[in-house]
Symmetry: C2
Subunit: 254 residues, 2 copies
């Protein structure tokens, strides 16, 4: 039986870099958020520097090993999490165990938002990650005190909705080759090119997870990647990095 850290905060937390619970001295606490790498992203970007104490007193960073559940579908949603580093997968599960990954979360993404009382999906780290936990009550208070937070929340939710509708189009209409090509292109737009300028994508998650995101079996994904490689559209540098050789060809395939 696994428990999510939403309810059992001590589970699966990496030992060395976890900061011990800090006293609420304003100085220390403001400094923590001020130096945060995700400071300008997520919900926190909606706040001015002067408002940081409101964040620091309620939020707490957590360093997590890979394969650690953060929130569990259906569990009571008592906190939201901002990803500071690493990558998580978000997925839904059918009663018989089939899983559909609805998205991957990286730095700046906020997970655990919900309209009801329970989380809508399970979130689990795919690499070692750092997330920042904020209780739901604190988020509510933050929204009341800072209307800009609500606006940011609306903008983020709208962007997620757009992405979800694109995914619906992908799953409902596209072939395996089109799905993989679309996926690689979408990732390459969000990542830095290699030193020589050619675009590349980093795939830290296992192939079975990419398949579960695209509605494909890992065998099919493997075959499609090989086909794209033979066609000269991509090169597989390592198991977790692909170089895009011909973005135009990929675009045509997507």
């Amino acid at each position: 039986m696994t428990f999510s850290i939403a309810t059992i905060a001590a589970a699966n937390v990496a030992t060395p870099p976890m900061p011990a619970p800090q006293p609420r001295t304003a100085g220390t606490v403001t400094g923590r958020c001020a130096g945060c790498s995700a400071r300008s992203k997520g919900l926190c970007g909606a706040l001015a520097a002067g408002d940081l104490p409101d964040l620091s007193t309620t939020s707490r960073p957590l360093d997590l090993l890979s394969a650690t559940p953060v929130v569990m579908e259906g569990e009571e949603a008592d906190a939201v999490f901002t990803v500071m580093s690493g990558m998580l997968k978000l997925y839904k599960t059918l009663p018989d165990g089939r899983q559909q990954i609805t998205g991957f979360a990286t730095a700046g993404d906020v997970i655990g938002l919900t309209v009801g009382t329970g989380y809508a999906y399970t979130a689990e780290t795919v690499t070692a990650s750092t997330v920042c936990r904020m209780p739901r009550t604190a988020l509510r208070r933050l929204m009341e005190r800072h209307p800009a937070v609500q606006g940011r929340l609306l903008a983020m939710t709208s962007v997620e909705l757009l992405a979800a509708q694109d995914q619906i189009l992908l799953l409902g209409c596209k072939t395996a080759v089109e799905r993989v090509s679309s996926f690689l292109l979408a990732l390459s737009r969000r990542s830095r090119p290699l030193a020589d300028g050619t675009p590349s994508v980093f795939l830290p998650m296992p192939k079975v997870d990419i398949g579960a995101y695209l509605g494909l079996r890992p065998e099919t994904l493997s075959r499609v990647l090989r086909k794209l490689e033979v066609a000269g559209a991509i090169t597989r540098l390592t198991n977790d990095r692909i170089r895009i050789e011909d973005p135009v060809a990929l675009e045509a395939a997507a």
Copy 2:
């Protein structure tokens, strides 16, 4: 060539009940929104009765025939529409013409919301419908004047996101029988049962549209409905109405 009424307001508007542009007499205008059947839903539900003039002066109802486009994917998003009656389909189109319906909109739903400058999908009536048009600038002003509107917007967007994620699960994992069963159950939860108390669903849209929503061909949909009928789970009363005979069996199939 078709044009959406977002840009050409006079096209495809039904002749008789279309109210002529009204003078801005506060009385008339407040009355229009006060008597609106969608008054408590959509964005308008976030406003108190005293604030109705803010709505009435900027919104305008439109009666539309079936198969009328309201917004077109990619077109400049200069207005949002609240559905007052009827039904619309929302869909995305691939370059080669394949279409994926992302949802159906009924009374109270708001269409045309977007984060960017262009609409994210095409919306088209499937039955004769009445929608209420509000320019985007008016919505922006309304949000500034009434913070509750923004909250309502956030709630509505979040609910849509949940629905989109459920649809991703459906398209990514489920079989044809599971998709159709899930669809019928979801609809039956939102509709009134028949006079004798048994639940039923109303399907005014053509079968090809239901298929495009569920990621199935119409032939497959037809076969699945027949199979469910033979199994005793449903009865097809007319072409556009189905009675749910055995909700438990449907639940099991979904």
